[in-house]
Symmetry: C2
Subunit: 315 residues, 2 copies
């Protein structure tokens, strides 16, 4: 006999929340979506994932809510909303959470758990999730999934003992795997976040600044060299912050990106659609962490300063 | 009795060649223009300078030529064409030059005299001219002059002794001053070129990358900080290359730019009009010079790499 499947809440159904929510619902999990701008459309049309990996997936009867008060309490909460709204989200998350719920922050950048932790009740387990996925929302309730899809999980903070932490992470990993999602435990969440930044720091910002996806950025020798040196700055910063990364990481990431379809990261879509870019979590926080230990990231900083200019002008 | 005024040839009548050529012609100098794409228009309509400083200036009967063979030999030749065409220009310059002519390279960047020197006859005096002017060409034969206008001159190479070099530079300075153009001798041309780069390195590239003139770049604290740090890299590189610049230079330039009208540098106009950007002279040459003495300019290099990407994509 198997244990009853967990009840899962998805906060925000952009590309990330939509994709993982639909994958988990298809696998039989009881999935509930807390939505804002997409509520009406999703209630009417359901959620649609156009996946180059899994084919077309449609979730017709979406359990969608406008407020957490209407939602059943959830054992797992996956945060797919933008990190720019984390402080507004915290009370909603707390309200949607069952006792001792596991909250997984599926966001990029540094310090995203800390922001939430400060405003979440102590009895909530907070985990970080690193998503390795090429996906974007093409319309309300419609997600284009181009490639990849894995999620690595690490325990951030909460009432669990070390042994319990491991078992909670394994529970989350099993849940994703049961839904056909590649998943692994990140034994060191801080290091895993830096590792993810090695990819996000060059591609997110340069896609905006140069109006280009990964393919042209990798093809041109100058932008490729720029990508590489920003990656090396990120590795140097990680090491300086006490989270050294594998030596071969940069070349491995470049090669992996070479084999990806031409990908426009979420920051590109945010910018062209007039939404705020996640500059604090993805750029300001790692730059501040590096500066705090006296490590300079000049090319990353130049990129960040240019993006801030564009962001201010877009207001 | 005064000496007969020199015969002056202008090679290329974009904003720089057009402005200084008209100023000198108005002062009674015998000015001849070697033109390519503008030849027909200038012959028909003359040259027009819309100057915020001097008012509207029209030169009706322009002595314009398509080839140097048709031109009278000139004592002074002012090179206002883009540095991107220097190697093509050299034979034309040599042909238009009187014996012992003075050739003044009115271009930005580093190494622009060296490129020409290699292909010019030994008996030609080569000088560098640093233009401090806000001007751009708005149409064939029409130049908008927004502010400033000075030219500093320095001797680069040629048959002159040290004393003769000084006297030739003074002759050029007097010529410009007689035409109402502020002009001074640059005792150290290499240092003067670096000093000019302190301004060009941030503003030229960022205007292209961020689609912005000096005013918005200075107003936003992030782009202003980026401008400043690129200026500091340029000063560091100049010092490392043996051409230290005054300590107060960066703050002085920032303040001067604050007081300028909103200005879009020539690189911006080149890029939006599909002309090649002067990336070699303005970026690649100083980066190579700095790298040659082990000095890193990471933010400048990041900007250059981004510009190269845009330049390649524009082809």
């Amino acid at each position: 006999m198997t244990a009853p499947k967990s009840r899962i809440g998805i906060i925000g159904a952009g590309a990330i929340g939509g994709f993982y929510g639909v994958m988990l619902a298809r696998a039989g999990y009881d999935v509930h979506f807390l939505l804002r701008s997409e509520y009406e459309t999703v209630l009417q049309n359901g959620l649609q994932i156009n996946s180059a990996v899994h084919g077309s997936m449609q979730l017709d009867s979406v359990q969608a809510y406008r407020t957490p008060a209407q939602m059943p309490k959830c054992d797992w909460l996956l945060i797919g909303a933008k990190s720019t709204s984390n402080s507004d989200l915290a009370p909603l998350i707390a309200e949607a959470a069952a006792e001792n719920a596991k909250v997984v922050v599926l966001q990029n950048g540094l310090g995203v758990e800390e922001t939430l932790r400060q405003v979440l009740p102590d009895n909530i387990h907070l985990l970080g999730g690193l998503c390795f996925i090429c996906a974007h929302r093409s319309a309300l309730g419609v997600v284009e999934h181009q490639a990849l899809g894995g999620v690595n999980l690490g325990y951030h903070s909460g009432p669990a003992s070390a042994a319990e932490q491991q078992s909670l992470v394994e529970e989350g990993v099993s849940m994703f795997r049961a839904a056909g999602v590649d998943s692994n435990a990140a034994t060191n969440l801080a290091q895993a976040r830096w590792q993810k930044l090695v990819w996000n720091l060059p591609y997110n910002g340069l896609s905006v600044l140069l109006d280009a996806g990964t393919e042209p950025l990798m093809k041109d020798p100058n932008s490729r060299a720029l990508v590489r040196s920003i990656m090396l700055e990120a590795c140097g910063a990680a090491a300086a912050c006490g989270e050294p990364l594998p030596d071969a990481l940069v070349d491995r990431m470049l090669m992996a990106t070479d084999h990806m379809p031409n990908y426009l990261p979420s920051m590109y879509h945010d910018h062209v659609n007039g939404r705020p870019m996640e500059l604090d979590a993805i750029y300001a926080a790692p730059l501040a962490a590096a500066a705090g230990v006296g490590f300079a990231m000049p090319k990353t900083e130049a990129l960040y300063q240019a993006l801030r200019f564009l962001s201010a002008r877009a207001l």
